[in-house]
Point group: C2
Chain length 202, copies 2
DNA sequence: CTGTTATTGGACACGATGTATGGAACTGGT
DNA sequence: ACCAGTTCCATACATCGTGTCCAATAACAG
């Protein structure tokens, strides 16, 4: 037997697309299972043949996206004991641009925020691990708690990403936003805005 | 006539507390109006006498909280054309510690994230306004787009705040987290972790 | 004490959920 | 081209939560 019946693939894709589109239009809470199957041109019974409920479908969409992102990011961070390149940020923004609709749904916190929490917690964990590893490699203890560091960095990224991905038409090119983000994160606002002054040590 | 009947105040307070408690236990989507009135020991009909639905009640809770926060922050930022003190951050964390449960509900993104979006958008707007004002006062144009700056800064705050407010028992004292946050935001990671190196200009 | 307002329990129609059919349509492999 | 296996479909059903309405009762402010 093949990995999966063609009908099944088709059905799942249709349901996925329908949910995402409808959530963008009306918001997660206002979308019913019947709405989804109607939009996908499928029977309601078919839905329950694949998923237990709306949350189940959404959960799988999110899990798939997170897995796909991590897959694309893996090769960029394995050799990351060296300096900070910012390639992962760029790649995440690229991924978001490609999967714009799903990202918008997730970053809006639809579905009682479970998806967004999962997404951010996942990223925070990965980033914290990298920070710890790098600190070890350099034999230093970060002046600021690594968890705070990671949470703050991920918070910056996601917050700006949401703002950027929601803007239509795009206010800034991909490369510019990520560059600003990176610059800001590394050098801080002292150097970024022109009125908080230079850092004490400079 | 008095501002509000004592019964009304009591009812609203009970409904408010019941909703918050239940959302923390089961998640927003799993809470019904009947759950709320049962927990509050009130009739379901009474609920509909005050609110149109669950979202309405939650919306008012959130609006009240945002208004209260802005009220507490106002005196700290009016004279903010001068340097960056960080007092507002400290005050927000204090407020969050006092209203821990409501903050947890909001920051988790319950209610399809509407509350969290409102909260962050409100803060981002306020912060962006301050940044612009300060840039004008100093006659400089920030090197980084003010909107990006504001979104990033608020993202940092909220992300760390959620992590901090969810930790039980508290991992760090109030003053320490806010100090780290401020330090990190102003001077950037170059100075904060010990391995990304010093900024180019220093 | 009195007129006003809030709360109550019950009833109602409606829409969405999740489950269960048997038959029709499609699939992958021979 | 055919067949066995599966997926999809239309339909029906019991259940639950919603939002509205009502008349009776209780609590309020002045």
């Amino acid at each position: 037997m093949a990995a999966e019946d063609r009908r099944v693939r088709r059905t799942k894709r249709l349901l996925r697309d329908a949910l995402v589109a409808l959530v963008l239009e009306r918001g997660y809470g206002a979308v019913t299972v019947e709405d989804i199957t109607e939009r996908a041109d499928l029977s309601r019974a078919t839905f329950y043949g694949h998923y237990t409920d709306k949350d189940d479908l959404f959960g799988q969409i999110v899990a798939d996206l997170i897995a796909e992102l991590n897959e694309r990011l893996r090769p960029l961070v394995t050799d990351s004991s060296a300096g900070f390149t910012g390639k992962p940020v760029l790649e995440m923004f690229r991924h978001a641009a490609e999967e714009r609709d799903v990202y918008r749904v997730i970053l809006r916190g639809e579905g009682d925020g479970r998806a967004l929490r999962e997404f951010m917690d996942d990223r925070s964990e990965v980033v914290a691990r990298i920070f710890r590893k790098r600190a070890d490699a350099h034999g230093v203890t970060p002046r600021i708690d690594v968890d705070v560091l990671a949470r703050a960095w991920v918070g910056e990224q996601i917050s700006v990403l949401r703002w950027w991905i929601e803007s239509d038409p795009p206010v800034l090119p991909l490369e510019d936003v990520t560059h600003m983000l990176l610059d800001l994160s590394l050098r801080g606002r002292y150097w970024a805005n022109g009125f908080d002054g230079p850092p004490p040590g400079a």
